[in-house]
Symmetry: C2
Subunit: 317 residues, 2 copies
């Protein structure tokens, strides 16, 4: 094998160990997947480019895990069970072998955590920055996937975990905020996709929060033809986010990179949601409700007054 | 919609018209796919980078079609029926809107030709060259997909269509060869994946020829644990390739970008292969055979002597 082209050797050393059944050891041009009988597949893809979605000197293991986790977060928002993934990796010729080793080690750790394997991929060179893409595949019972549309007036607005840590972590990474515990930076670099929260048949609509709570809530409002009101004081913040102080509240509400789930839940399903969250070991918090009206998002402060956000406030999107 | 971010407007104008059922109009973060009952899925992914896999000033419609077709060729080599695809498009901010329009128009034309639709995608910016990835999904009867392994001693070596046009087309594109008819350049820029050739249960092994006939035959030899001998005079050439003259024969045998199928076919299945080819309107030609021995590829010239190839000749790979 020693006289194989360098690309094949790279695949053999770093990516073949990630391959699961059906991937044919990455020796073939295509993978096989026997879909679970009677299930519907859920497919999602994201690209990440160095200098745009991550910093060129970010730890490669965290780059790999974030690439995988942002896609797992999309699957989680549909209520899907992850099955596996395909990936492309385009790297400059000068990329050291240690980069691939660390990148693959990060993926290997997450494969164990989420019970998935690599199905196939493509490695190429590029004269530009590292460019990555990942297609994740999951499954749901037919007809039960959660969509952005489907929220009803009177549904509560719920979120998992805490909001704003990712945006504050970016502020830490760029030197604008102190982070004594390191918690915020960790939350920015390593999202915790809410895989395993059983939302099918419970949430009437939902998505993951990647572009900021208020903007993403606007997507559900538009898709569902409803208005929404949230109470800023109810939005769950981590201890580290609270410690940053009230000046950072708007960053929490309008920032991004949360990878928490944002759900519309009818009052009759609230107990079911709380049981599902308890079973998955996750926190869920009701932060507001949907109502008839223009697809606007209103954020109220503690005194009930509208809170104006510089970005993603209570206006048309 | 006019105050949506530019990315959403771009998706709405150029990519939403490509979306099929299950793609949720590309308004969601994930797509749904109900796999055909009782079928196995075949998945393949390829990345293409400007300056590596295509030239920055190549016509964008042909770039889109080539991106799709190289993946359809991988599906064809497994004997799979194409279902749909997901795609990522990372472009410099200065990319004119006309580029996306032409790129999408090429994809639209091929979607009609191959009966598939876009299931999902992601568009991002990049500070580097245009970077594309495409994940194609097809299906086969369980257990019938064709692999690189599985060839048996005595199997004939068969190819579809003609070999070498892609490599000669690249020579035309780079000014090293004349192409009065334009045929070779067209073959390089717009592969014709052999979708629809019913090879399941007929071929014992196979792959598509993308890295050159001799090198790719070496892959089947290694995967199947066999040697192979091909007769150069039997390798089917197009009229345009013959017109280039005998000096270009080695380029045809060792070049790439053919996207023809290379198949191992037991003698008992030769009639079935020819019926399948006739039904699909494709030519198939027997160019040699597999035999017990080291995984070497021997190319014989018209007088039976070994033909030495500068690249990808009869040596270990």
């Amino acid at each position: 094998m020693s006289d194989l082209p360098a690309e094949f050797a790279l695949i053999a050393r770093h990516f073949r160990p990630l391959a699961g059944p059906g991937a044919l050891d990455l020796r073939d041009d295509a993978a096989l997947l026997a879909p679970p009988p009677g299930r519907e597949l859920v497919l999602t893809v994201d690209a990440m480019v160095a200098g745009v979605h991550f910093l060129p000197d970010d730890p490669p293991d965290l780059v790999g895990r974030k690439l995988l986790r942002v896609n797992l977060s999309d699957l989680a928002a549909k209520g899907a069970v992850p099955l596996g993934y395909l990936m492309t990796v385009s790297t400059p010729k000068a990329t050291p072998e240690s980069w691939y080793a660390a990148f693959a080690a990060g993926l290997a750790a997450d494969q164990v955590q989420y019970g998935i394997t690599l199905l196939g991929g493509d490695t190429t060179s590029t004269p530009g920055p590292i460019s990555l893409s990942l297609t994740a595949i999951g499954h749901v019972a037919p007809g039960t996937a959660v969509h952005r549309f489907g929220a009803q007036a009177g549904d509560g607005i719920w979120v998992t975990g805490t909001i704003g840590d990712g945006a504050l972590g970016l502020a830490v990474a760029t030197g604008r905020l102190a982070d004594p515990s390191g918690y915020l930076l960790e939350r920015y670099r390593l999202p915790q996709p809410r895989v395993g929260l059983a939302i099918c048949g419970v949430a009437s609509a939902g998505m993951d929060v990647s572009d900021g709570l208020v903007q993403d809530l606007g997507h559900i409002c538009r898709a569902s033809g409803l208005g929404a009101t949230i109470e800023a004081a109810r939005v769950p913040l981590s201890d580290a986010a609270r410690a940053a102080g009230p000046d950072w509240l708007k960053t929490c509400l309008a920032g991004g990179d949360d990878y928490e789930l944002l759900l519309a839940v009818p009052p009759a399903h609230e107990a079911a949601l709380q049981r599902a969250a308890s079973a998955a070991g996750m926190a869920v918090t009701r932060i507001g409700s949907f109502h008839q009206g223009e697809p606007l998002v209103m954020v109220r402060d503690a005194s009930g007054e509208p809170l104006a956000l510089e970005r993603g406030g209570w206006s048309h999107f």
